[in-house]
Subunit: 568 residues, 2 copies
């Protein structure tokens, strides 16, 4: 092995020091790392015309101690009032807490925190202990006109926690992560919103031990942020898990919810079917904390039978073939796969590099069989449910894929993807350390508009020299799917990044994609909402806002585009 | 055969004379009849202590010519304005039109029309030709404060068309039944709301001929009112078809909608999945014409493959066993049956009489095997979808039924039920002609509350001497189902009937059932809505009402309980 080949970039391998900016923007486990492998690293150097010497010293690591720099606008009396409600130990006004709970995981927030830039923060961070605390906080804030920002797991990629107007951040995950009811007859569980993915899923898997249940269950909801996102966040921002094609989106999984709003508290009806007018349960989903604070939710459960899972993967000769086959699978009425993911040619080739397939004998065979780089597309999937049901799904998937010219790669790629499904975001810090941004945007789309949207966004991104644009579709319905765009670029200037990102969102909107399929709107998509929904529909959301929150204290400052200043 | 046995009641066999009350309240095809068979007739006589001589002469047949008797409160100028909008030929103010389009199919309306009682009517009946007509009508009515009542197929059983405040009835089914778009790629169709079930289903079945499509499709929505209800009505009142357990409720089937409201016109987004805030498409579903007029809808389609259907029926030893098996089927994750229907012991026994099984050799064998009258329960069903999918559903249903002590009756009962699914309502006129009411109420319910609701309602109904109460569950979800109550009683006094019905609704509400699973709220359930939803949630619906319809002109007079007078 030559010296050059054995070079390893100086990837950071240490947990960030406590109290630093890096400890805030770093994804996930402080001691968790996943570095670009040799193939990916080689591609990065190649695309961005970088050399090993560019990877000797990380830049703008954000290792400084956090300074908030934003004044606290609440009076001592107001602070004491909150201490009286949640207890002194659950009220924090230190710089670190204010910056941490006022930031999410957008690329822009990470770029700014790396530079030590803090543009907004809550005045106070509160950790409510139960619904009653939330009711008192909302009443107090309502009376005094103090903004409230709910915070769950902290993984928002839409500026969901940006406290543009000061006020209080409510951290729901500190105390409010309890189970309120487990109902095996109805196959439901009622939980407080602050519970995070792993704890939630584990107790369902362990239901016989935890709840003396007859069976094991699963939430069926596995977003990539699974380990660091909360049930409340999944509902508030309308998340979709990586097996949503089978289990449904969070929108489908929520049976009922309980809210505390400035207008009062209520719990929605929990019927699986009812014809008693517009469903308030559905009206509240996706309201992103702008109407009130979610304090509990009843969710549907599914049987946990991993032994019935069947994994498969296929290589298609073209993106058109992969899309056509996916549509046929989605409309075929033999049941939907759980994991269901097709990668476009660029993502497929990056993936083959990433997994070390490129250049191997397998790669040669595949090419000889006509599956060419920048044409071929990877499809990975799995079937869930009852044994013969999942078997039949896998059988039909095979039939459809073959009919569209695909070659089976067996279950290995799917298993490998599953294994790494939550760890890929760890690579962002490594890339960022060397001035390379990696970011994502995603959109819902109907089948008939998929290629137009794909080409429109790619056209814009690829017009920028030396920019990677990978796309996959991973949430399928009979009427369409989503497109998930990942772009990688060497870019260090925040303003350049913002303009680039805005340009992409423009393209999504222009080409008929939904502004978000499962990240939510937050403040990031807000400026596009009026054009996307039209004024009439925005007026509906605003009418609800006025009803629930006449003083505009709930997650103010642009969320959902409800209270944008006239010219954003 | 003895003389007594050969007696046939003087069932009406003639289409009602045009212009009569009977021509309005009679169900369905004027020349369509289905009379109680010998077994059912025998049971009726037995339960109500009637003899053949009671069935010699129909009573209160409503054969008189309709007189409206309600003043027209619109000025000549207003009438001319509407004539200017839709054309003179589409404006009707004759007594017959006003009574016909101001009445639905409730038992109470039929009882009153039989007596020649008309308590309310629209001033004018309009037949809009297209969206533009509706926009002009809504603008005109908005300006002048004239109430608007949309009318689709006319099958409402919740006083959906009661024009308590005069104004104009909009008959959507006369002209607005066109196809606006057929999209085979997305598997959707966009239609005007006035199209009725049979025309809608037929063109989908005939898609290759009608739309040059590659495949045949089905709406998947078959309410009992299928032949005389409209797509718009299905959406407005949140209908569920008799195969909803597989195809979903109308709530699930609607991809997007276009409305004309006093606040303006809009079309909702048509993404199969999107995370762009609360979904206006869902907010409008179930609004029963109180927010605006539905002018078009885009609906999901399913593949029409009747050759894959598998029918089955089973007899369970008890209601508990039938419910437990149904829950296991609904939660088993092998796919849901399409038709999925369990009858409680009383309905089962009536059914066995109705189908001539009682007293036969089969009946004797069944009894010997321990399936006793007033204990045994019938389950009928069918599986849809891809060939092996439906096969696997049927196989698993069989497994679950056997495990719960059921005996297979083969596919015959299911096929027989299917054959008669739309014709049973024709029997109402026969019973009513002899002073016997037959009516239904239905509620959504979670599994854990099913028996309590069933017993609560039955307890009330059966406390009345000589009253039949049959119950079935026919719309299944993993978290619960519906209960559909049919009650038959000898009763001729409208006030007695109203008190009896109110008593039943009280029991539904008291025992935790949803006020309606799929008939909607209308004006019938309105007085219970505030208690059922709670004031906080009713306030949400009222806030939306104020937004869309600040002057309260859209379907006013109690619908959804939005504008009830303080003490209903």
């Amino acid at each position: 092995m030559s010296k050059k080949e054995s070079f390893t970039p100086a990837w950071t391998e240490e947990a960030p020091r406590q109290g630093t900016y890096r400890s805030i923007f770093k994804w996930g486990d402080p001691a968790g790392f996943k570095h670009p492998n040799r193939g990916f690293y080689g591609m990065i150097k190649d695309v961005f015309q970088m050399t090993d010497t560019d990877f000797g010293q990380p830049q703008e690591e954000g290792n400084e101690t956090v300074e908030c720099g934003q004044p606290i606008r609440l009076s001592d009396e107001q602070v004491r009032a909150f201490e009286g409600i949640v207890g002194k130990e659950n009220v924090h006004s230190d710089d670190y807490s204010r910056v941490k709970y006022g930031a999410g995981k957008t690329m822009e927030e990470a770029m700014k925190l790396r530079k030590g830039v803090v543009e907004s923060a809550p005045d106070l961070v509160l950790h409510p202990r139960a619904r009653e605390d939330v009711q008192k906080i909302v009443a107090c804030c309502s009376e005094q006109g103090i903004p409230i920002y709910p915070y769950g797991g902290g993984s928002s990629v839409t500026f969901g926690f940006q406290c543009a107007k000061g006020g209080v951040s409510l951290v729901m995950s500190t105390h409010m992560h309890r189970v309120l009811d487990f109902n095996e007859t109805n196959q439901t569980i009622t939980v407080e919103p602050g519970i995070l993915g792993p704890a939630y899923e584990k107790m369902l898997n362990d239901a016989p031990e935890v709840f003396k249940a007859k069976r094991r269950y699963t939430a069926g909801h596995f977003p990539q942020s699974f380990e660091y996102s909360s049930v409340g966040g999944w509902i508030a921002a309308l998340g979709s898990g990586q097996q949503s094609s089978y289990y449904g989106d969070m929108y489908d999984i929520v049976l009922s919810q309980e809210y505390v709003t400035p207008a009062g508290s209520f719990k929605t009806l929990d019927y699986p079917g009812t014809a008693t007018g517009p469903k308030v349960n559905d009206i509240m989903k996706g309201s992103e904390g702008t109407y009130g604070v979610l304090v509990s939710a009843t969710l549907k459960l599914f049987r946990y039978v991993p032994e019935n899972r069947r994994r498969f993967s296929y290589l298609f000769p073209s993106w058109e073939a992969a899309v056509d086959a996916s549509r046929e699978i989605s409309q075929g009425e033999f049941g939907m796969p759980g994991v269901f993911r097709i990668s476009d040619p660029e993502e497929t080739d990056v993936g083959l590099k990433l997994y070390g397939v490129e250049g191997t004998t397998l790669d040669k065979i595949v090419r000889l069989r006509g599956f060419k780089p920048m044409e071929r597309c990877l499809y990975i999937g799995s079937a869930e449910g009852e044994k013969d049901f999942s078997k039949n799904v896998a059988k039909n998937v095979r039939r459809v894929c073959k009919a569209h010219g695909a070659m089976s790669l067996g279950g290995y790629a799917a298993k490998r993807w599953e294994h790494g499904r939550y760890t890929d975001p760890y690579m962002r810090e490594d890339l960022n350390d060397y001035g390379i941004i990696i970011d994502t945007l995603e959109a819902g789309v109907t089948w008939d508009n998929l290629h137009r949207l794909h080409q429109g966004v790619r056209g814009f991104v690829k017009a920028r020299p030396r920019t990677i644009c990978m796309t996959h579709a991973s949430h399928f319905y009979p009427q369409g799917t989503n497109l998930y765009f990942i772009f990688i670029a060497r870019m260090n200037d925040v303003e350049e990044y913002k303009a680039f990102q805005a340009g992409i969102i423009d393209q999504v909107e222009k080409h008929g994609g939904s502004l978000s399929h499962h990240h939510g709107v937050g403040r990031m998509m807000a400026p596009w909402m009026e054009r996307h929904l039209g004024t009439m529909q925005m007026d509906v959301l605003r009418a609800l806002k006025r009803h629930f929150d006449p003083k505009g204290i709930m997650n103010p400052g642009g969320t959902l585009g409800l209270d944008l200043t006239p010219d954003p």
